[in-house]
Assembly symmetry: C2
């Protein structure tokens, strides 16, 4: 068998509620080379793109606008959107939004658009 004894289910809303920092991804699970990461956001990140990976957003609660260079994509709870690799984007949320991100790496760093101020809102 495998290390199945270590596996558990994840309640996504509870995992999101535990987050203390905006625009920081917490890894909940791994499958087929992809990570399931929960995050919350308010305000916006910086414009950025990921050259090496697609990034999938799945909104758990609230609303987020994925700004692309040619249009905006508005996402509400239960909506999913894939940002293909290499496509510039800048997520923005008027009020707090909680979401799942699926992709092979954690991208909540400066290169991944994480704003400086997000580090200060850790309380």
């Amino acid at each position: 068998m495998t290390n199945i004894e270590q596996m558990g289910k994840v309640n996504l809303a509870a995992a999101a509620a535990d987050l203390t920092e905006f625009w920081s991804q917490r890894v909940l699970a791994e499958a087929n080379g992809n990570l399931f990461k929960v995050a919350k956001g308010v305000g916006s990140t910086n414009w950025h793109s990921h050259e090496d990976q697609d990034e999938t957003f799945l909104v758990l609660s609230g609303r987020i606008t994925i700004q692309l260079r040619d249009r905006d994509v508005e996402l509400g709870s239960g909506e999913l959107f894939v940002i293909p690799r290499g496509v510039e984007h800048c997520p923005v949320a008027e009020d707090e939004v909680r979401f799942l991100i699926i992709g092979p790496d954690v991208t909540s760093n400066a290169a991944g658009g994480k704003p400086e101020w997000s580090y200060a809102k850790a309380d």
Copy 2:
């Protein structure tokens, strides 16, 4: 750029509501070699395992029990669980459940545990 013009967001509840057949996966999006597939179920599949891929369940509405050989994992709305490759499982749902499955291939076939009767409930 890419074929970004063809991309759209997906409302998962609406996609699930459109399904006509139980235990059949419909591909909604692809990212990083994985497919995002929506499905609904009632009753159970047959016992099976996937030797080549992990299978991630994310429940959209209702409840499902992922039976494993050594325990049952009960999942409700907003809960996620990864079945590692090679691990035998048999999902069962007392009432209709709708869920997302993430993995590299469509697995709703006989080898993937799809029961014969699922084909008959296509109305």
